[in-house]
């Protein structure tokens, strides 16, 4: 029996507060998600009953902490349908995961003249690691461009991915335009050319069912904090054979077998990639967040957000004073919507919305090359999650109207 998704607000006390004397309308979920009581309770329980360092201990608390930590790994394994827990590595977050791949697999396998293909809609975290790897190795970085509706241009992908390509790295879902990319098709293309496929799932895993084996990706990265887990925990999924062949990323406690004065040998997977004390409580919290999401059901999560998008997006696209970036078709859109009020700087818009209790982001959303390509310097961005309601959508629309009115003098000028 799944929990009713329409009534979760009680699990999120943070939402029950006034901001600038208005009820908080939190629409900055693409930046980070709020945490249900269940996740905070899991942290508290861990710290107040089981806290110890893992693996290395013989005593009872250490055994309980180890079991809790590895249990979280099993939950992740099941949640993304990895073949085995050895393929699930805990990291600090998506950025850490992606840097890990670039610094180990990338460093070991990319040579001068090789090509790395990414898309122009990548978040900096799935862009700069490859850009800098290409610079270090004198490899070529290529960008897959967009269609006019802000989707990935698959025809362009066909021309960019060649036999010289060694790595293709693309986001599962855009953190700006709300597009979902055809990862399975890209993976096939990459594999046909002998390249590996890296997928940045930071904006996908929290919002839709993800099956890494069905996608057939070689690596998949995501962050806990965007899916209601604590900050400082993330995941790198990788296929066993690739992970096994890779050199370690960081060196230290727990990732070793034998350490001698002048040489060392490495632990088996996944621990080879987990040097030093990990974010143990963070992993436990991620496990609790997964429990919470699975209890709702990921298709229900997706359907709930879709319903809100179906209401919000047409209202924005219909407004002549508002410009929406990315697809205008709600059916092809996640709960991440980038827009501007024409003639107004998004920072002014975000400040004005904040006065109405509405939290949105304004800026380049860590996607400067995308902004440059769209001819923008910055946008506002509203992004939804499971605890958002039709009420939140209405409040955003209302606050946007108020904002337009307040700044009407400048808006008139801009027309």
């Amino acid at each position: 029996m799944k929990t009713d998704i329409s009534d979760l607000r009680g699990d999120f006390p943070i939402l029950d507060q006034l901001v600038n004397d208005e009820p908080l309308t939190y629409l900055d979920n693409a930046a980070t998600a709020q945490k249900p009581n269940q996740v905070v309770a899991a942290l508290t329980h861990f710290y107040q009953t089981d806290n110890a360092n893992v693996h290395r201990g013989v005593h009872t608390l250490a055994e309980r902490a180890t079991a809790a930590y590895e249990d979280a790994r099993h939950k992740v394994t099941h949640f993304i349908n990895a073949a085995e827990p050895a393929e699930v590595i805990f990291t600090k977050g998506a950025t850490d995961s992606l840097n890990l791949i670039a610094s180990t697999y990338g460093e070991a396998n990319i040579e001068a003249g090789d090509e790395i293909v990414i898309s122009i809609m990548e978040h900096h975290s799935n862009l700069i690691p490859w850009q800098q790897l290409a610079l270090r190795k004198h490899a070529t970085l290529k960008y897959i461009e967009l269609t006019p509706t802000g989707e990935l241009d698959m025809a362009d992908a066909e021309t960019k991915i060649t036999d010289k390509t060694k790595i293709v790295a693309v986001a599962h879902a855009s953190n700006v335009m709300g597009t979902v990319n055809p990862i399975a098709a890209l993976t096939k293309m990459a594999h046909q050319h002998g390249a590996i496929m890296v997928c940045d799932g930071a904006q996908a895993v929290p919002h839709m069912p993800v099956d890494v084996q069905a996608l057939d990706v070689d690596f998949y990265a995501f962050s806990g904090h965007k899916m209601m887990a604590p900050t400082g925990i993330g995941v790198l999924y990788g296929k066993r054979d690739l992970l096994a062949a890779m050199p370690p990323y960081q060196f230290g406690g727990e990732m070793i077998n034998f350490v001698h004065r002048y040489e060392s040998t490495w632990n088996e997977l996944p621990w080879k990639f987990e040097a030093g004390t990990q974010n143990i409580a963070g992993a436990v919290g991620l496990g609790a967040a997964i429990d919470y999401l699975e209890n709702l059901g990921m298709s229900n999560v997706q359907a709930h957000e879709q319903q809100l998008v179906n209401s919000l997006l047409p209202q924005l696209t219909a407004d002549r004073q508002i410009e929406v970036y990315g697809p205008h078709d709600p059916a092809r859109h996640t709960g991440v919507i980038a827009f501007n009020i024409k003639g107004l700087h998004p920072h002014d818009v975000a400040t004005a919305l904040d006065m109405e209790g509405v939290a949105v982001r304004a800026g380049h959303h860590c996607a400067q090359p995308l902004m440059e390509t769209l001819g923008l310097v910055a946008t506002a961005r509203a992004s939804l999650y499971i605890y958002n309601t039709q009420d939140d959508v209405d409040r955003l629309i209302h606050a946007l109207n108020e904002t337009k009115e307040f700044f009407s003098h400048e808006l008139i000028k801009a027309e």
């Binding site: 600038n20 004397d21 208005e22 107004l344 700087h345 998004p346 920072h347 002014d348 400040t351 004005a352 006065m355 109405e356 209790g357 304004a362 800026g363 380049h364 902004m371 310097v377 910055a378 108020e402 904002t403 009115e405 307040f406 700044f407 003098h409 400048e410 000028k413």
Partner: protein, 155 residues
């Protein structure tokens, strides 16, 4: 309704400066030119200054793009420092910076800032402080740039 609170930041005078910015044009053959950007929001200020042999700012102009706050701040800054000496302008930049960071400042110094003093309200909007300081930062860097180059040369 709560947008009225916006008036505490976006005072009439600020909106006026943003709507009709003063000195918003490039100078030809300016003695000093400086471009600064705010990476977070993409705002850009190109500042042109004419300094005469007595280090007095005899002309000033800016171009660039940005939010209401950064545009009006550039306009008010230009008004405030025009006709001032380099040292006076640098002192005003310091006063402005202290003011928006909420540090103690002298009322007399504040009066020097003219319209620009109205941006003291930005203290309550920490995320917007950089918008207000961008043009003042450009001013500082422009005025110190020769000196800077000298001291770089020494190092």
């Amino acid at each position: 309704m709560s947008l009225s609170k916006l008036n505490s930041l976006y005072r009439e005078v600020i909106l006026d400066h943003a709507d009709h910015p003063h000195h918003k044009h490039a100078l030809t053959n300016a003695t000093t030119t400086m471009t600064v950007k705010n990476p977070t929001c993409g705002d850009v200020i190109n500042l042109d200054i004419d300094l005469n042999e007595d280090d007095v700012i005899t002309n000033i102009g800016f171009t660039g793009e940005g939010c209401t706050i950064s545009q009006s701040s550039a306009s008010m800054m230009s008004d405030a420092v025009l006709g001032k000496t380099k040292d006076e302008a640098l002192k005003m930049a310091k006063t402005f910076s202290d003011m928006v960071m909420g540090k103690q400042h002298d009322q007399a110094d504040l009066d020097e800032l003219d319209d620009a003093a109205i941006l003291s309200s930005i203290v309550s909007f920490p995320a917007r402080i950089k918008c207000a300081t961008l043009s003042w930062w450009a001013l500082q860097r422009a005025l110190l740039s020769n000196q800077q180059e000298e001291s770089d040369g020494e190092a």
